[in-house]
């Protein structure tokens, strides 16, 4: 008998549980998507999925997913140069906000663009908010769900951090006049800015030091006076933004060390007084394992207590499968009509672990109920899928994006 390696053990093969692939679109060979996904319902009845690219040369792409089994690309735009990336975007109605982050400080464009996308094929630039500066790389992530304010992680011309890794902090931008966006408030991690009276925060070991920067800065209509922020090595941060001009710290759950930093998303479950907190894996081959999704008790928001983590396949199974393996973006229950919203069923991305779905009805024991791990895209430098972000629409159609060449995978759950 010939003994062969089992084909299922290769990163080339797809793995699924209770999920079905409806369609796959490689975005014309530019299938590297960052962490910006939004779904527009157009006035002429179409549904356009907007995607921010992970890196140059492409800026953003619009895909018509009116029929999710037949996605059609309607537009793909270019960046001005190779040292900038968009990475993040959000859409409210016909208004789209796109982030720009440069590779090094001092470059531009570094900030946000606002586009009128009422005709998706020809987005009209309404304004650019410049956040470039001698110590700024611009904007990494935006949150825009109410049509009025953009909450974002950004540097600024007037901000000089002690450590260059700490350049992006929380900023609130008033876009009620989209042609004239204005900063209204900001908060940075105490001790990170030159001149702060507080001592500098204790940094992680060099191997894991990623900085004290804001990542996702989410504000929901259930609590318009709170911003829920992932603050990388600073952990989870809750801010009081009742006065948008003066955000104040409510709570900071700091769990690294002993963990390896990079808190990414803080997602509140308001009906349950819980937070789902995700890390981001940023090293290949399991080098920064474990990067987890945490369940945190927030009954007392000033005393956040972790009560569990989402189960993931063992690092032995996926750590060396290619690229990164660990937590990253969650579907964030965006309070917009085209977004799935649930405080029981949570969708997360895990790079080569694909997109995974959890039932958190029992928060002490989150249960994995479905997953889809696409086979390695042929052009992927990681040699494996690297699912980077996920968006779930109100019909529970799941859009998962690859970080490198895979483009988007459109899925449905079979349960």
């Amino acid at each position: 008998m010939t003994v062969l390696a089992h084909p299922g053990s290769k990163a080339a093969n797809s793995l699924s549980l209770n999920m079905k692939l409806l369609a796959h679109h490689e975005l014309d060979g530019f299938g590297g998507i960052g962490e910006g996904m939004a779904l527009q319902q157009t006035r002429d009845g179409r549904r356009i999925l907007w995607l921010a690219h992970e890196s140059a040369p492409k800026n953003f792409t619009g895909v018509d997913v009116t029929d999710p089994t037949k996605p059609k690309m309607v537009i793909q735009t270019e960046l001005p140069h190779a040292k900038v990336r968009s990475n993040s975007l959000d859409v409210v109605g016909d208004l789209m906000v796109v982030a720009y982050q440069t590779q090094t400080v001092g470059l531009s464009p570094a900030g946000i663009d606002l586009f009128d996308i009422s005709v998706p094929e020809s987005p009209k630039l309404l304004s650019h908010l410049d956040r470039s500066g001698p110590h700024s790389r611009g904007v990494h992530a935006v949150w825009f769900v109410d049509g009025e304010y953009v909450h974002m992680a950004s540097g600024a011309a007037d901000f000089e951090p002690h450590n260059p890794l700490d350049d992006q902090f929380y900023q609130i931008i008033d876009v009620r006049d989209p042609k004239n966006p204005k900063e209204v408030g900001r908060w940075w991690y105490p001790g990170t800015r030159k001149g702060d009276p507080e001592p500098q925060p204790r940094r992680l070991d060099k191997k894991f030091d990623c900085g004290f920067r804001a990542h996702n800065t989410n504000v929901f209509p259930q609590r318009p006076d709170r911003a829920y922020c992932g603050w990388l090595d600073g952990g989870a941060v809750i801010l009081d933004i009742a006065d948008k001009t003066k955000p104040k710290l409510v709570a900071n759950w700091r769990y690294s060390p002993p963990f390896n930093g990079f808190c990414h998303t803080v997602l509140p479950m308001f009906s349950k007084n819980l937070l789902v907190v995700s890390d981001e894996c940023v090293q290949d081959g399991g080098a920064d394992w474990p990067k987890l999704v945490w369940m945190v008790d927030a009954r007392d928001e000033t005393n956040l207590v972790p009560i569990g983590t989402f189960p993931m396949p063992p690092v032995a199974a996926f750590g060396k499968r290619g690229g990164r393996y660990g937590a990253h973006n969650m579907h964030e229950n965006l309070p917009v009509p085209t977004s799935f919203q649930s405080e029981d069923i949570i969708f997360g991305t895990f790079f080569n672990g694909g997109v995974r779905v959890y039932n958190i009805s029992n928060p002490f024991q989150p249960e994995e109920i479905a997953y889809f791990v696409p086979g390695a895209p042929p052009t992927s430098p990681a040699g494996a899928i690297q699912i980077n972000d996920v968006y779930v629409d109100e019909n529970r159609v799941i859009y998962a994006a690859d970080r490198f060449g895979g483009g988007i995978y459109i899925l449905e759950m079979t349960i």
């Binding site: 008998m1 010939t2 003994v3 062969l4 390696a5 089992h6 084909p7 299922g8 053990s9 093969n13 797809s14 793995l15 699924s16 549980l17 209770n18 396949p313 063992p314 032995a316 199974a317 996926f318 499968r321 039932n359 249960e367 109920i369 479905a370 997953y371 791990v373 079979t414 349960i415």
Partner: protein, 358 residues
């Protein structure tokens, strides 16, 4: 556990398990061997007693591990290494880690003489197995040549028939049509609520093994699971009234197997407390003789019927379906018992219904 503690989605999300049982020589290995070559089995993991018995050498394309092999049609075939729980756990862990195919169903071939009840109970009592798998039916094979004698001689054979959701008479080419019909009548008498099929040389339609026990509210499937056919018998029907022949058969079957079966129907909804109390009383007093119970129960306040099923002392956790599959909202429960008269069970449930009537 409350009736609603498992959502239908969760049940539908578990991997279905088909249990194939039957007495020694009933043709299980032949049937499994034929199944293993069918293209429809490309995402099925089949747990067999021994590789040798089913002779799959020609179908084999790769060995996953000592006890798992992948066949050319994509079917995964494995043997039980230590115990069945361990094998089912290992299968899920390897599936999740991408070491084996994404199987969507497990078929278990039980060993010869065995009472299949423990296999069914394995799916309920092991935490991880229960979290990931659900029973999707017991298929019992009865050999047309030796079956009638085995049914008389060995009580395990009777239990295999009583537990079945599908009955398959094998080797029908080796006996007369009259003999097949007599066996069919006996089986229908012992377990009138299982569909009866025949197979020659292990040839069956794999679809017979799929979606046997309802995980979603589909009327035809539920009727076929409960009553062995697409329409329900008349209210209050028992085996004889379910259209399976004349009294002589009935007497013979009961003598042979000491098994009787009946359907109870109730017009008024139960409260969950009353229903579960009666069920617990019944299982604690007569669990050994409660060979099979399956049914749809109308629980006050639930959006759809609660699917209950059990074998002997163990009941599966009740599952509330999202909606009623049709107009009939009555509670309908099938009992296959050994020496428990219908009147006794009916009295018990009526008493409970009386106590909770508003």
């Amino acid at each position: 556990m409350s009736a609603a503690s498992l959502t239908p989605q969760q049940i539908a999300g578990k991997l279905p398990v088909t249990v194939i049982t039957g007495f020694l020589g009933s043709g299980k290995s032949t049937l499994v061997k034929r199944l293993l070559t069918r293209p429809e089995m490309n995402r099925v993991a089949v747990i067999v007693n021994e590789f040798g018995e089913i002779g799959i050498d020609n179908e084999l394309i790769s060995e996953v591990s000592e006890n798992m092999t992948l066949l050319s049609n994509g079917c995964l075939c494995c043997t039980v290494r230590t115990d069945l729980e361990e094998t089912l756990r290992e299968l899920f862990i390897k599936r999740r880690a991408g070491e084996i195919i994404d199987f969507t169903r497990v078929v278990i071939e039980t060993s010869g003489m065995a009472d299949p009840t423990p296999v069914v109970h394995t799916l309920l009592t092991d935490g991880m197995v229960f979290a990931r798998y659900r029973l999707d039916g017991v298929v019992t094979l009865i050999d047309a040549v030796n079956g009638p004698g085995q049914l008389k001689e060995f009580p395990e054979a009777g239990k295999q028939v009583a537990l079945a959701d599908r009955l398959i008479i094998t080797k029908t080419d080796l006996v007369t049509a009259e003999q097949v019909q007599a066996l069919r009548d006996d089986l229908a008498q012992a377990n009138p609520y299982a569909a009866i099929h025949t197979a020659v040389q292990g040839e069956i339609d794999p679809a017979l093994l799929i979606d046997v026990i309802p995980a979603r509210p589909r009327e035809s499937q539920i009727s076929s699971w409960l009553f062995g056919k697409d329409t329900a018998p008349e209210a209050g029907g028992d085996g004889a009234e379910a259209g399976t022949g004349y009294l002589g058969n009935r007497v013979r079957a009961e003598h042979t197997l000491n098994v009787n079966s009946f359907v109870l129907t109730f017009d008024q909804p139960f409260t969950w407390d009353a229903f579960s109390a009666v069920t617990q009383l019944l299982t604690s007093m007569r669990g050994t003789d409660l060979l099979r119970v399956k049914g749809l129960v109308n629980i006050a306040g639930e959006p759809g019927p609660v699917v209950v099923q059990g074998a002997q002392h163990l009941f599966h956790p009740p599952v509330t379906l999202a909606a009623w599959p049709g107009e009939d909202r009555r509670t309908r429960i099938v009992f296959i018992t050994r020496n428990i008269p219908r009147a006794a069970v009916e009295g018990l449930f009526n008493a409970a219904a009386g106590l909770t009537a508003h």
